[in-house]
């Protein structure tokens, strides 16, 4: 987690100057995408990407937790003694997660049932903890919120992409909010919906994204 001091990896060498607010937001979407760039938070990624709908639900829940936790922790960063920062981070993150879980159980019961244990498990999602420890505990509030929103958006887009591939190949169509968005003329291969399909899809999409990234350079 040494990237904190210089806002990450490869940009470090060239850009020692203060990053713009826009790049603070956009870096999480492509360059440092939590899944394709940083390769963090893979457990929920593998588990919930059986459909686009799950991806959107999980993504929104994570964005809420991420932005809320990073905002609070950035706000309190000067008052948090460093030797007890970990328990304080966990308290704040767990509170946001529990609130999210309760609200989803009450207002979106079907989604909450289909995401199951993975909403409470946002507590231990490396993306949330990683951004808090590496970024928002050291950066101003606005930067932290933009960083969190960008990372959350990048995570959500990655989940939608993976969920889309798996749902399309697994069931033969993509259904969102009760409407068929896309459908294939062939039947789905159910292997795409189980763990093996999750690994296969993640591996191929990750590989493709690296390849594209290298070509663009």
């Amino acid at each position: 987690l040494t990237e904190a001091s210089c806002h990450g990896g490869e940009v470090c060498a060239t850009a020692q100057k203060k990053p713009s607010y826009l790049s603070e937001f956009t870096k999480g979407i492509i360059r440092q995408n939590p899944i394709f760039g940083l390769v963090l938070g893979l457990c929920p990624t593998l588990a919930v990407t059986t459909s686009v709908e799950n991806g959107v639900g999980m993504g929104i829940a994570t964005i809420f937790v991420l932005v809320g936790s990073c905002f609070m922790i950035s706000l309190l960063r000067k008052n948090i003694p460093s030797q007890i920062r970990i328990p304080i981070f966990i308290l704040i993150i767990a509170t946001f997660v529990t609130v999210t879980d309760l609200v989803m159980t009450a207002y979106t019961p079907a989604l909450s049932k289909s995401l199951g244990i993975f909403v409470p498990l946002i507590v231990v999602n490396c993306i949330v903890f990683g951004r808090v420890e590496a970024f928002s505990s050291k950066q101003p509030v606005l930067n932290s919120v933009l960083d969190a929103a960008g990372m959350g958006a990048g995570f959500t887009l990655a989940l939608i992409l993976l969920g889309g591939v798996r749902e399309l190949l697994g069931t033969g169509s993509i259904v969102f909010a009760g409407r068929v968005l896309l459908s294939l003329p062939i039947a789905g291969a159910s292997a795409m919906l189980i763990a093996s399909g999750a690994y296969l899809t993640l591996g191929l999409v990750l590989g493709a994204s690296r390849r594209i990234g290298r070509l663009l350079k």
């Binding site: 003694p81 030797q83 308290l91 609130v99 309760l102 009450a106």
Partner: protein, 192 residues
């Protein structure tokens, strides 16, 4: 670490924990009625699934030994019962809703909660690709009496490979519901 720093750390941690506690308590109090409403609605839906003939609704009753059951009504007639059965599985208590028509034939079965081993016992709720209902529990529909046991116990139910204990627990729960509990519920009906 000197004692002043220690005191300060303790104070900050306690303050953060206190605020978090208040936020959680407040949120819980706010959403609790809504969560109860949602779980009531989902119970109603589950009851309808396991005893579809009960078009008018259900009346909640209790049997001795803390067993809750629901009398299914269509018009003014009793068309069957739904029993809320808890049975000891391999690694958890499995809670079942068992629908039984007025002649003792199982009309539907739904697993309400279970924490069995994923990939083995948890397959009691597995839905096969292309299917709508879990294949294991669907086997009980239309069966009664001794047919509700596993094949290896002389009945008509295929066990889940590698999960005999979980399979037997579910079968035992259904057998008990359609046998003993069903008889008790009928007796209670006659008396009333």
């Amino acid at each position: 670490v000197n004692s002043r720093e220690l005191l300060k750390s303790g104070f900050v941690l306690a303050a953060v924990a206190g605020v978090c506690g208040l936020v959680l308590g407040g949120t819980y109090a706010f959403v609790k009625p809504k969560i109860e409403l949602v779980s009531d609605a989902s119970l109603k839906e589950s009851l309808g699934e396991v005893l579809p003939a009960a078009s008018t609704g259900f009346v909640r009753r209790e049997l001795s030994g803390d067993v809750t059951y629901f009398v299914g009504l269509s018009g003014g007639d009793t068309v069957g019962y739904v029993f809320d059965v808890k049975t000891a599985g391999y690694s958890s208590t499995i809670e079942l809703l068992v629908g039984v028509d007025s002649s003792g034939v199982v009309t539907g079965l739904k697993v309400l909660s279970q924490q069995e081993t994923p990939g083995l016992g948890a397959r009691i709720v597995e839905v096969r690709p292309g299917g709508e209902k879990p294949w294991f529990t669907s086997q009980f529909e239309g069966k009664s009496g001794d047919e509700l046991r596993l094949k290896k116990d002389g009945g008509g139910i295929d066990a889940i490979t590698g999960a005999t204990i979980s399979s037997r627990a579910v079968a035992g729960g259904v057998y008990n519901a359609a046998g003993e509990l069903f008889a008790e519920a009928k007796k209670a009906e006659v008396k009333a």
